[in-house]
């Protein structure tokens, strides 16, 4: 067994006993990256120097008996959407190539303050727009379970790096499923917290009313531990919730006996992969065996979520991405003649096709004469989708479903078919529209050996219960012990 096979909490225990040093753990990650990342291509850049310096500082604290946190010294990776002071941050886009931020995102500062060495920046769909990592301006990442397949997106690099055991955990962001879908594709755990639970300050915005950073790890307990570090009210984020952070480990092992778990009939639709459906059904039966009650629930507006999401997310994105103009930072079309060309050429060359497509859609949906028909109407349907969940949660403690209708698909398979690509998110994006917490946990494999993930959705700020439900299943299987065939 290698050092990198340990879970975060196992490593933390060894660091606490001083059986292992953070520098050793960090070097083990760096070595693993050297071995496998040429195949997985999870990293956009590795910050070896910074990570080792942080590891040595952590070791000094451990030696002095004053660790900064329970995870002090555990190496972590960051989706390239989090601003890191002094370390290039691109959001997977050409337009930000060479951009070196002058400040740290709030969550990055929290992780640094907690003593975690940050190994590097992980690949992603450009500006988090995509479900396969193929819209990254640099290269696609590969799924460690089948290198011909996508690790999902947009936090695909993060999921791939965790699954390939290049890092012990990572942070991703989730706007319409970008943490949960890659987690489901890679046999890892991903949690999208309640909107407002984790600060968005310093996280490059895609769709501000939907974006939410969250932890990705190999186990539920690791996910809980990581969430513990980043779930904080942030006075620099006006949408951050001033809600107490509970102890996410406290009830982790409490099981599901007596819980009512909702099964939404609208989530078992035509087009869902039979093996995925079978795996989820089996998981539901297992929850019954573990003492939970399954309740049939209806979320009647689910079929409108996709259209609602694409209108709202694209509209917000068209505005959020207006700042990339080549004036203050990032790439500029140096040959532009005049100001007009400066804008139009910089943006034409700097953005990839998926980003341009969404900017176009969003600009159109907000433009004069179309606002009411598209944007405003989508906001109203968003209300209906939220109300669906409010009603469901009057009956049940959580809602269970597949995370994705299919297992990881082949790279290149859907890249020219935006609509079929958008359908990949159909189960994950209602959660963002409603602002709810959602968690993906491994629940089995297809015959071809591709991971399947269960999605658990909960009430606002009910992350602890989601983790507890996920843990009840995980404890029975330990799928996370199974290494990807690299």
């Amino acid at each position: 067994m290698q050092l990198t096979d340990l879970t975060m909490l196992e490593l933390a225990a060894k660091l606490a006993e001083r059986a292992v040093s953070s520098e050793e753990a960090t070097r083990a990650c760096l070595e693993r990256i050297r071995q496998v990342d040429s195949k997985v291509r999870a990293f956009l850049r590795v910050d070896e120097e910074g990570a080792l310096a942080a590891a040595r500082a952590s070791d000094a604290r451990r030696k002095a008996g004053s660790p900064a946190s329970a995870l002090d010294g555990v190496p972590l990776g960051l989706k390239d959407i989090f601003l890191t002071e002094g370390v290039e941050t691109t959001a997977g886009s050409r337009i930000l190539e060479g951009f070196v931020p002058p400040y740290d995102a709030t969550v990055v500062r929290l992780l640094k303050d907690a003593g975690l060495p940050l190994v590097g920046k992980l690949n992603m769909d450009e500006f988090a727009m995509g479900s396969s990592n193929e819209s990254s301006a640099y290269f696609p990442s590969h799924n460690p379970w089948d290198l011909a397949r996508t690790p999902g997106g947009s936090s695909g690099g993060s999921a791939a790096a965790v699954a390939a055991r290049e890092v012990f955990g990572a942070l991703g962001t989730d706007t319409g499923g970008s943490i949960r879908q890659p987690a489901a594709f890679t046999n890892t755990v991903g949690l999208k917290p309640t909107y407002g639970r984790v600060s968005r300050y310093g996280v490059i915005a895609y769709a501000s009313s939907l974006d939410q950073p969250g932890p990705m790890a190999r186990t539920v307990a690791d996910t809980a531990a990581l969430l513990q570090l980043i779930a904080r009210h942030d006075p620099q984020d006006s949408t951050s919730a001033a809600v107490e952070t509970p102890d996410y480990q406290a009830d982790l092992e409490a099981g599901v006996r007596g819980l009512k778990l909702g099964v939404p009939r609208e989530y078992f639709i035509e087009g869902i992969d039979p093996e995925v459906e079978a795996s989820i059904r089996e998981t539901l039966r297992e929850y019954e065996r573990l003492g939970a009650t399954l309740v049939d629930v209806s979320l009647p507006h689910t079929k409108y979520a996709l259209a609602t999401y694409y209108l709202l997310a694209s509209s917000e994105a068209s505005s959020n991405l207006a700042r990339y103009d080549g004036i203050r930072y990032g790439q500029r079309a140096k040959d532009a003649r005049g100001l007009k060309e400066l804008y139009a050429l910089t943006r034409e060359r700097g953005f990839g096709p998926e980003v341009k497509r969404r900017i176009m859609l969003g600009t159109y949906a907000l433009s004069a004469g179309y606002y009411d028909a598209y944007y405003l109407r989508a906001q109203k349907v968003r209300t209906l989708i939220r109300e669906d969940f409010t009603k469901a949660f009057q009956q049940v403690d959580a809602v269970l479903s597949p995370t994705s209708p299919v297992p990881a698909f082949k790279l290149g398979e859907k890249v020219d078919d935006p609509l079929s690509m958008y359908l990949m998110d159909v189960f994950t994006l209602p959660c963002n529209l409603a602002g709810l917490p959602g968690l993906a946990v491994p629940c089995g494999f297809t015959k071809a050996g591709l991971p399947v993930g269960l999605q658990i959705l909960g009430r606002p700020f009910d992350e602890a219960r989601l983790l507890r439900i996920a843990r009840a299943f995980e404890r029975e299987h330990d799928f996370f012990r199974r290494p990807a065939p690299l």
């Binding site: 909107y195 001033a242 409108y304 532009a336 176009m360 906001q379 349907v381 968003r382």
Partner: protein, 95 residues
């Protein structure tokens, strides 16, 4: 709903994207398809429904009127593609 090439060009101008002719064609087709797909929302009766623009429970967060240190200009301008002194430089603006 089918978008016209003219509409695509107008939107590209608003969005400051110098699309190639090939992109204009492709986006006309693709965005028309997306608009067809989102047209299903038109069938819902949302007359009496309030729009949701924020998914947050957060109340208005206010900060005190207190000055905080700014960035030194060399940091503010460190990523600038073109600068002059401590100003960002752009091609001459014609009013």
């Amino acid at each position: 709903m089918a978008l016209t090439l003219e509409q695509v060009r107008h939107v590209a101008t608003l969005a400051r994207l110098a699309l190639t002719p090939e992109e204009e064609q492709r986006f006309t087709t693709q965005l028309s398809a997306v608009l067809d797909a989102v047209a299903q929302l038109q069938s819902l009766d949302v007359e009496a429904v309030e729009p949701t623009s924020h998914a947050t429970l957060a109340a208005s967060l206010l900060r005190e009127d207190v000055m905080k240190p700014s960035l030194p200009p060399e940091k503010s301008l460190a990523n600038a593609p073109a600068k002059s002194g401590t100003s960002f430089a752009v091609p001459k603006i014609i009013e």
